[in-house]
């Protein structure tokens, strides 16, 4: 009974996250790679992504703090974040990075600062989505049930 409710919430929450573009099909692919041999695979990858993205955001902040902004360096950093967000399926972050990339090409410090702020917000949003998903999974498993398979 209890697990049924949890499963429903899990599916609804995940569907919402996908619908709003926080996560995309790449995330689903990662879930499919997870099994009893590597039950924490997605959690580990997500954790690494959140760590990497935090470091990259700090790096971006540092570059933009300078009087003379090195837009090449900035762009290289943004491209790294595009790569890792694509790897986990963090679609909105990836899209924000693409806008950031354009601002770098234009050499617009103001545009870049706005993008950075936007990125920081998006990172917190996806972090919260992921944390909730993992929490729900944990509760479902604790209730002795299995986590519903998400498909796109």
């Amino acid at each position: 009974m209890e697990s049924h409710g949890l499963k429903t919430v899990y599916i609804a929450f995940a569907s919402d996250a996908f619908r709003n573009g926080f996560l995309d099909n790449q995330y689903t692919q990662l879930l499919q790679l997870q099994d009893e041999n590597e039950p924490k695979f997605v959690l580990q990858v997500a954790t690494l992504f959140l760590e990497d993205s935090e470091k990259l955001l700090n790096e971006l902040r540092g570059i933009l703090d300078k009087q003379d902004v090195d837009f090449e360096k900035l762009d290289a950093c943004v491209r790294k974040l595009i790569g890792s967000s694509a790897s986990i399926g963090a679609k909105r972050i990836k899209n924000t990075c693409l806008a950031f990339h354009n601002c770098c090409k234009e050499g617009s410090k103001e545009g870049c600062l706005k993008c950075l702020q936007h990125l920081a917000q998006e990172r917190l949003l996806v972090k919260s989505k992921l944390e909730t998903l993992f929490k729900l999974e944990k509760w479902i498993l604790a209730a002795g049930a299995s986590v519903p398979v998400l498909s796109q």
Binding site: F41, Q44, V45, L48, D52, R79, I82, S87, I88
Partner: protein, 200 residues
Amino acid sequence: MAVDAEAQFHVLAVDDSLMDRKLIERLLKTSSFQVTTVDSGSKALEVLGLKEDQTSTSALSPEHNEIEVNLVITDYCMPGMTGYDLLKKIKESSSLKDIPVVIMSSENVPSRINRCLEEGAEEFFLKPVQLSDMRRLRPHILKGKYKEQQLHQEENSNTNHIIVGSSNNNTMSNKRKAMDEEVLSERTRLRFSSSSLNVI
């Protein structure tokens, strides 16, 4: 002496990002490969038994752990030695040049892709790498082994043998057909100069 269709092949994966190493390792293991991951080109060369300044592996260096590697898959953008640099070193080495190398990158830069293929990379995978991409690896490994066997055949100068004496000729020719189809896929540039896919 047939190549066992179910043989577990060993792939060396090179990527400076821990997250990406975790991903590629999982993809490879899920596809039944044995995996070793390293975080740099220089470490990759160590695993392959080659010091950076050597061009051939030294049989006399016992401190090197030489494991047989059937394929190298490497990220392009890495600090220090790039994937391209690593590819070059492998292809320049008399002992390692026949190991198939696949390059990965999160950026779709045609000049980069061409450069790598020109230098001898078998394939170029765009990240994020997918499970379906893993299926493209086996043919490259088998192609290399088939070449090896052909060389042995010629050395033994026994012209009555078609492919491999002992077992499953059918399996081999089916595999070869699958290899042909895979090798001729659109993402791979065709390099027939050292083709060993001729029908006997």
